[in-house]
Symmetry: D2
Subunit: 337 residues, 4 copies
Amino acid sequence: MIVVMNPGAKKEQVDHVILRLTQLGFGIHLSEGESRTVIGAIGDRSKALSIGLEAMEGVEKVVPISKPFKLVSREFRKDDTVIELNGVRIGDEKVIVMAGPCAVESEEQVHQIAEAIKKAGADVLRGGAFKPRTSPYAFQGMEEEGLKLLAEAREKTGLLIVTEVVNPQCVPLVEKYADILQVGARNMQNFHLLRELGKTRKPVLLKRGLSATIEEWLMAAEYLMSGGNYNVILCERGIRTFETYTRNTLDLSAIPIVKELSHLPVIVDPSHGTGQRKLVSSMCKAAIAAGADGLMIEVHPDPERALCDGPQSLNPAQFMELMNGLRRVAVSVDRTL
Amino acid sequence: MIVVMNPGAKKEQVDHVILRLTQLGFGIHLSEGESRTVIGAIGDRSKALSIGLEAMEGVEKVVPISKPFKLVSREFRKDDTVIELNGVRIGDEKVIVMAGPCAVESEEQVHQIAEAIKKAGADVLRGGAFKPRTSPYAFQGMEEEGLKLLAEAREKTGLLIVTEVVNPQCVPLVEKYADILQVGARNMQNFHLLRELGKTRKPVLLKRGLSATIEEWLMAAEYLMSGGNYNVILCERGIRTFETYTRNTLDLSAIPIVKELSHLPVIVDPSHGTGQRKLVSSMCKAAIAAGADGLMIEVHPDPERALCDGPQSLNPAQFMELMNGLRRVAVSVDRTL
Amino acid sequence: MIVVMNPGAKKEQVDHVILRLTQLGFGIHLSEGESRTVIGAIGDRSKALSIGLEAMEGVEKVVPISKPFKLVSREFRKDDTVIELNGVRIGDEKVIVMAGPCAVESEEQVHQIAEAIKKAGADVLRGGAFKPRTSPYAFQGMEEEGLKLLAEAREKTGLLIVTEVVNPQCVPLVEKYADILQVGARNMQNFHLLRELGKTRKPVLLKRGLSATIEEWLMAAEYLMSGGNYNVILCERGIRTFETYTRNTLDLSAIPIVKELSHLPVIVDPSHGTGQRKLVSSMCKAAIAAGADGLMIEVHPDPERALCDGPQSLNPAQFMELMNGLRRVAVSVDRTL
Amino acid sequence: MIVVMNPGAKKEQVDHVILRLTQLGFGIHLSEGESRTVIGAIGDRSKALSIGLEAMEGVEKVVPISKPFKLVSREFRKDDTVIELNGVRIGDEKVIVMAGPCAVESEEQVHQIAEAIKKAGADVLRGGAFKPRTSPYAFQGMEEEGLKLLAEAREKTGLLIVTEVVNPQCVPLVEKYADILQVGARNMQNFHLLRELGKTRKPVLLKRGLSATIEEWLMAAEYLMSGGNYNVILCERGIRTFETYTRNTLDLSAIPIVKELSHLPVIVDPSHGTGQRKLVSSMCKAAIAAGADGLMIEVHPDPERALCDGPQSLNPAQFMELMNGLRRVAVSVDRTL
């Protein structure tokens, strides 16, 4: 950690900062430059969270040197984390495909889609039973009834189930039915929810927040891991920018960055990332080429009648065609699908 | 609502859209332009949420005409909402000042600060008992113990209490102690929390999300009001932009915009909005000049020892001086403070 | 074009808007909704630029229906534009690779790099002779001397030359030496420069501005085409967002969007788009998979001694290895390289 | 300057960085932390621009300590710069008001507006003769004819004239007529233009770029000052964010920040900053309360007939009323107007 003092900082202000840092066990390196004094503090950065270094008189800024996350970092674990679930290995050579409707709407819809995506080669069925919706007047999900339908579809098809949990109290309920628990973008910093999910051992799919930096996203994963749950899957799903043509701006550079900073698997959701069906295919291909460990794709038997996010959903025929195209790209970067 | 068809949309695609809209009770105005057909749909926009208009073949985009919020809109209520609490009127001529530490840390800290801000003329004591922190290794709040300290401070000083609630289950607990329940920026779209708070009748202070548009912010307020709680106070606290010099970019134009679109009172938090103590004073003055109904300001007896957000906290002497400056600005725009 | 009136707009205000639009030759469709009156105006949108529709009393907003660009649009030209230069066809099946140093620094550097990229299979040599630099104290380019070195390298290798022009007066000079004239991101809305380049017939490579929407980018291309220069190549190079880990956020979804809206070829610059050498390879692969017609990649014989943008430059060996990887991805999406 | 090495950086990599820095005359402070080695380099940061520190093997990142600007900084000049022009002192106690139409359209328009703003108490007449427009089909300005009209209005009213220069070649022409030369937001990083303006001694009004950080904005001012022109006025005019309700997001916190980092005067343009007439008044008041040295406001005799930016223009009566309100706010923060 580097503490940069103001150009006009007084000697007693410098001494005071050094005193506080020394009390916390930091080693000190003092460096007096032409215009500013700089204090290097060697030690565990998290200890300094308890003192307001930047609030001290004479301090201009504090520059962290080490990363704020530990358990999620490559330094903690050199090898890629591979999460195995019923024979499906997430984070390994095979690119995993999760597909299904935005929201669970009916038995017929779920079974129809589960059959279709299974046939096309998907590994995991997605579908929301609890829907966080911007408008209080929009469909909010089938809740437990929806979870049951997902579980039935698993019985019939052997697909794994991923579904969103929106609330700390709902964790036990969702855990009862789902194989993978999803944290939505709007809940990425719902720390009570993260803490609750840190206690389970079921894999958690953690979506990146709409305006979350990569560091904040990894810190949210750190919440899960610091609670003891090491089965974390990261999911890039687009960030909010000034561009209005797409719903969000899909940040594919996040894939190699996460791979460098962390050992956790990372997948991509181009359906939410773009909000437009016609962009899904090229963004799926790009995600695989960029090194993604998986994809999450919205598929609906009849997108025009979808209760949620129809404009970004593929129909089963489009999904089947997409999968064929993706296999070739996967092979070109030494992966399978 | 306007449905814009693709340049090459076929007649049967246009007919199909019209059919679906007619089934839902919309009146139709068809307009065939040089390159595109445009369908005007007259009726209640929320009804169309259940069909995927944008997912239909031939549709280029759907342009909403009316606002998605109802109860929060000026059209619903022409006069400003004034929330009265124990003689304090929020949304009226007097600019309300809420002040206090980021986090409740100890009895001594709370009482010291409560006395100081009372003396300087503040109306409401703020302080967090549940702290949503980016790092799992940072101080997370005193929880119920903190709430009790706030309530004691109210007894002694007569100040109102505002404090954050981070979780639907905590609502009854926080409600027991607080006068105003705060929803933090990270929870602005925690819809389960909003629904729970829609059931109480205590005023809710709703912070704008880091990357929330004004429309999304007002939709979050609509969640509260659609649950029956009409006592909503909006709070602008800075949005995330590319500028890194400040923690956030305080969007003061949000004040006159909210005043135009809605009848709800709006206050400003320049402490979080800028993240820097030295910017607080000028941003407080600017907020009042722009028409804010109140301010939320972080004050700590010893910012350098604050367990949270010290760099943006004023000490009591700085706060006292600030209040004197603010009174003059308030008068210049026909308000008091 | 749709003119949405305020909820409380008076009849005479509506009549006045209709009068002005009729005077300009627009056909009118009037639609009175529950809360708002909406006026549909059928005709050439650009005619309305001369009246301040949104400034008229009673007008809430104006919603354009048709796109503001004409010549760049798919509606103007259904087939992809292919620009042929000395046997190199940009916008065709083969993915074109432009490579070279950020800045031309010396004869040795240029010749060394030209040989190396030629050997690796690149088509075009890039290199800046005029450098727009954020700091007045940084190296500003070799100017005409640099252009001569580029032209010599062309003689020896047969590579095409692309280089930036920063100023309307410099167009004749740069045109004398270069095959493709580049407009940098900071000059995307330098309209005098665009007008000057609209008069030449040499191809122009138009980089997307740091904070330009796709529509603004295409409007800049419209400036070139409206001047008569139909040889325009678009180049996505990252946009400015809140994320600070990368220099910019590469927006790969811009590729399929541009392909849908326009007939112009689009290439990607992952070197500037990310600012980090280690991200270049995966972003190149992703760009090809997403459908890019070409790539622009920074290569320097000794990145650590580069006078500009060393951190994002590959060395020749890294570039050679990259090219081999890219060929496989190109084939997987039915392209060559 | 601090060079942070990778966790796994080898000793020879560290030695190599130190060697290069020493060769450039930097003093070195080496600090070996728990996970990373950190090299402190004491000396003139601009010298390091010529070596690609971040491109060296083993380097994770380079953290600058001193600011990149010199002449614009408070450290270079402690006292506020006051620019005096014909008795008008910009940067002093009196808040300066610049007002007028977006574009010069006719003799009648200019004279009418000049009279009106003079009467209301403005100091400077603004008006564009060269208009950078997003669409090639929109009105592009009256050019020299417009400059003459502005100069005539100066003769009649005694107002100073500010107008935009969009091109290095136009500088002599615009300089002939104008008192203050304006650099528009889109040209903030048009470095050839800045260099040309660095050679004149007429004051330059430098608008902040749409997506320019405060540091980049000050670096653009450094270009002007490093050319010898010390008469620079900064102008905040809104930045691009995700919020679409306003044309831009006016960043009023930039005022106290610029005042802290620099000695240059800073004014605010709420007309472009918001794009909406109804927001101009409250943002003018807020700007003054935040410490702005001046305002730039669009006024048009008949906004609905304006050839440019009508929706954000006030009419003369609205401007007169605004000025009265602003005077009171100015007094409340110990300024005049």
